[in-house]
């Protein structure tokens, strides 16, 4: 569904991502983990077209989307839940969701899409006329995911959705991911919570220093030696 | 950057100005052009004065023409012959109306007043940066213009000051412009200038290194005010007449645009910008009056009237929009490398 090959991104002269290959099959949940500064967010931004890759290609359902502007990538069917949620705190919850409709390819079915999000996240529905800044961190995260979903993307990219959330709320968010996948959405999940991600995802890539280090399967979640190795580098 | 190579950077601006002075004074060109050359040199002085603050601090000032205005009015009012003052500026304070000074003294006075005014204004204003600084300096210009345009105790008020001695000859304009460039160069390579430039690149790091940004900016602002005052003195002695309008919006815009066209980040940029825009201006002016042969041949008639205004404005707008870093891209002058020149020479001889 989503295929990244030979990706390289530079800020100035320093490469933040080097020769990265990854692929996400239709209906899969794929994890991407790694320490701070590994280049995970940069990878997602390159897919979205928010930063320009200096080499490599990005293909969506077989056709290249490299070099397209973010608003075009969204219309091609990719949605991002950005790091730190990036909720518009001065707008109402409902207005935030309506912003997510901007990327829809067709205006038909908007109401149904909103309904589905309200069903998935009842708290969002309850607080829809309040200012988004009044929501708790967990509620804002649900809003951010909902905002990406109302565009009915084929591929959902999430950048550290569990950042700063209480453990019970993390459960809610990870649970929602399974429900979203069940609706047929393909997911690329960037996380710092390695263990949970590896356990949830069909496959998890480990990145550090801009490069892919290894790929883990769900079975590795219990293997603490491999997990430590993944994080601190193997020989 | 080594010291020797560093001082080479001064060669370009000085040579360009000296060349302008020499070309303007010899028979190479139409003597009628002499005034255009003088005007260009005075523009260089004003733009370089502006650059001393804007270029080194990275803070924009829309108020610099205030200091040019103060210098111009001081030098103008104080050189009108005493005998004529009762008719030309009857409202003056007695001590202004009863005295006049010579040319050089008036230039010195212009520099001192410009510097003092900038210092006083700068003490509160240098705490601001960004748009707030831009608007506040602009407000200073508004106040200066408004008072100069109305207060008859210190100048002609809404009238025109005339009979100002036209003492800015080509030699004085050239020396004046070179002097301003030399001071600007000395400043930017001094300890103070380097500290301020460091704060332009990275204010937080500069502050951490113990640089008092407010004070460094203030020095630059005052120096730049003094140079602007001097340039104002040169300007008024070039024109021979002065109205508050002459040193207000149009001049502000023109000098800022010259600076940005050349490249805000370097002294060379300030000089190139002022000379390039002045040259275009003079060229179009002459083409309009049918004095440029090839334009006449090409069009079959002189350039239509008003091309000059539109042409200069268009040139500046185009450079600003498409080359936001200016013609010099913010770099200082450097000599072409000898090796490369030789290679080119060989190529062309082959």
């Amino acid at each position: 569904m989503l295929e990244v090959s030979g990706l390289e991104v530079r800020y100035g002269t320093v490469p933040a991502v080097r020769d990265l290959d990854l692929s996400v099959g239709r209906g899969e949940i794929v994890g991407l983990i790694g320490p701070n500064g590994a280049g995970k967010s940069t990878t997602l931004h390159a897919i979205m077209g928010a930063v320009r890759p200096s080499a490599g290609d990005i293909r969506l359902a077989g056709s290249s989307i490299r070099g397209r502007a973010p608003e075009q990538v969204v219309r091609a069917g990719v949605a991002l839940v950005p790091e730190g949620r990036r909720i518009f705190t001065e707008l109402t919850v409902e207005e935030n969701l309506r912003l997510g409709l901007a990327g829809r390819r067709s205006k038909d079915g908007s109401a149904e899409a909103l309904e589905r999000v309200y069903e998935l996240f009842p708290v969002v529905h309850e607080s829809r006329s309040r200012h988004a800044g009044l929501l708790s961190g967990g509620q804002q995260q649900q809003l951010a995911i909902g905002r990406a979903l109302v565009g009915e993307p084929d591929v959902l990219l999430l950048d550290e959705p569990s950042l700063g959330l209480a453990p019970t709320v993390v459960d809610t968010v990870f649970g929602a991911l399974l429900a979203i996948r069940a609706q047929g959405v393909t997911i690329l999940l960037v996380e710092q919570r390695a263990q949970r991600t590896v356990a949830l995802a069909d496959r998890t890539y480990v990145m550090s220093n801009g490069e892919l280090r290894m790929t883990l399967g769900p079975g590795d979640a219990g293997d603490s030696r491999r997990m430590v190795e993944a994080y601190f580098g193997s020989s | 950057m080594t010291d020797r190579r560093g001082s080479l950077e001064l060669i370009g601006p000085v040579l360009a100005l000296a060349l302008a002075g020499i070309v303007g004074s010899t028979g190479f060109v139409d003597p009628a052009l002499e005034n255009e050359f003088k005007g260009a040199l005075v523009s260089v002085a004003i733009v370089v004065a502006l650059y001393v603050f804007v270029g080194n601090s990275g803070v924009v000032s829309f108020g610099h023409v205030s200091f040019v205005a103060v210098g111009a009015f001081a030098a103008g009012v104080m050189t009108v012959p005493v005998a004529l003052k009762p008719t030309i500026t009857p409202g003056l304070f007695a001590f202004l109306g009863e005295h006049s000074v010579g040319n050089l003294a008036s230039l010195a006075l212009a520099a001192v007043l410009g510097g003092l005014f900038a210092l006083v204004v700068g003490i509160p204003l240098m705490r601001l940066s960004g748009l707030a600084a831009g608007i506040a300096t602009f407000a200073v210009l508004g106040v200066t213009y408004n008072i100069l345009n109305n207060w008859e105790k210190i100048g002609p008020g809404p009238l025109t000051l005339t009979t100002i001695p036209e003492t800015t000859g080509l030699l004085q304009a050239t020396i004046g412009a070179i002097a301003v460039v030399a001071v600007a160069f000395a400043y930017q390579r001094s300890r103070y200038g380097r500290k301020l430039r460091a704060s332009r690149e990275d204010p937080a790091a500069a502050r951490a290194a113990g640089i008092d940004i407010h004070r460094e900016r203030l020095w630059a602002f005052a120096l730049s005010g003094a140079l602007s005052g001097l340039a104002g003195g040169l300007l008024v002695h070039l024109a021979g007449t002065l109205q508050a309008r002459d040193v207000y919006l149009d001049l502000t815009f023109l000098t800022l645009a010259m600076l940005v066209v050349g490249g805000v980040g370097s002294l060379w940029g300030a000089v190139v910008g002022a000379l390039a825009v002045s040259a275009l201006d003079s060229f179009l002016l002459r083409a309009e009056s049918g004095e440029v042969g090839f334009v006449d041949d090409l069009l079959g008639k002189p350039l239509w009237g008003g091309s000059r205004l539109v042409g200069v404005a268009l040139f500046m707008a185009v450079v600003l929009v498409f080359l936001p870093q200016g013609l010099t891209r913010g770099r200082e002058f450097h000599l072409p490398r000898l090796g490369r020149r030789r290679a080119v020479a060989q190529e062309s001889s082959a």
């Binding site: 990036r86 518009f88 901007a102 | 748009l131 940005v260 205004l309 600003l320």
Partner: protein, 305 residues
């Protein structure tokens, strides 16, 4: 007493005009982070369109004014604002300065330095007497039009999709684009709305401000300067605070010119020093609140050392 009421009503009308211009400038700043110094020249172009069609039916003349201003707005967006999108705010401001100068030069060359009289609806310049107070129709109209424009703008911004996109883009343009908000569409919309407001001001200004009865190359330039100052003083990164800043400037200018004597020997003692008084106030306000007078909290687009 009735004089006071008259002065106040006139001042509020002037404030309304300035507030309209402030909104026009603020809308574009919101989505482009660009302070458009050339805004006054859009108004100038509209006023020329009116002046050159004085003999035509009023509605045709006004329609032409709108067409000219909108076409020029779009041309500026395509030819200048778009290439400038990544430039620093200062470069942008100087560039719009250059554009303003360019448009003034073109007007000077094409129409000359002598102003042309603008006749829109002469009847509106006649006064009505309400409770002993003489107020010109245009003064009342100006206030009503401003209120209507702000109401319409509120509806546009809060009730329509493009309005929502405009608000989002001015708060956080990068995130808005990541959600699929089209940058170009939003900017074009803002430029057009801003142009509509400029055209409205072009129609009102010659009738409402007696010194603007004639349109020349520097038409609306002084207003633009004062409004820009007001917008920054009010707080440019919020539409409401920018508008309030413009409004306050207009009311202040109106009241000061109503109350200061028309002559005096020393600065600040007469209405000829009005600009000085206003600019001094501006400097003081900026020193106390560089982020803007009407901005609450830490939304500082303008940092200080």
């Amino acid at each position: 007493m009735t004089d006071d009421v008259q002065t106040l009503v006139d001042a509020v009308a002037l404030g309304s005009i300035y507030a309209l211009m402030a909104v026009g400038i603020g809308l574009v700043f919101g989505v482009l982070r660009l302070v458009n110094f050339a805004y006054g020249q859009l108004i100038m172009a509209g006023a020329y369109a009116l002046a050159l069609t004085n003999d035509q039916p009023v509605l045709l003349s006004i329609a032409l004014c709108f067409a000219v201003v909108l076409a020029l707005s779009l041309a500026l967006e395509l030819a200048a604002f778009r290439p400038l999108r990544r430039a620093s705010p200062t470069t942008m401001l100087v560039a719009t300065f250059a554009i303003s100068y360019l448009l003034q030069s073109i007007a000077l060359v094409k129409f000359g330095a002598i102003g042309k009289i603008v006749v829109v609806v002469p009847k509106l310049s006649e006064p009505v007497t309400i409770g002993g107070v003489h107020i010109r129709w245009i003064t009342i109209m100006t206030i009503i039009v401003a209120v209507l424009v702000f109401a319409a703008l509120m509806v546009l911004l809060t009730k329509t999709t493009i309005g929502l996109h405009m608000r989002a883009a001015s708060i956080d343009p990068a995130t808005a684009r990541l959600l699929g908000v089209r940058a170009n569409a939003v900017i074009t919309a803002a430029v057009l709305v801003s142009g509509v407001i400029a055209a409205i001001v072009a129609v009102i200004l010659p009738m409402a401000v007696p010194e603007r009865l004639l349109v020349g190359p520097d038409f609306a330039l002084r207003e633009t300067i004062i409004v820009l100052v007001g917008v920054v003083v009010g707080g440019i990164d919020r539409l409401l605070s920018a508008t309030l800043g413009g409004f306050t400037m207009g009311v202040a200018v109106g009241l000061l010119s109503g109350y200061l004597p028309s002559s005096g020997a020393w600065p600040f003692t007469s209405s000829v020093y009005l600009d000085s008084a206003v600019f001094m106030l501006v400097i003081i306000v900026l020193l106390i609140r560089p982020e803007g007078l009407f901005v609450r909290g830490r939304h500082a687009a303008l940092e200080r050392v």
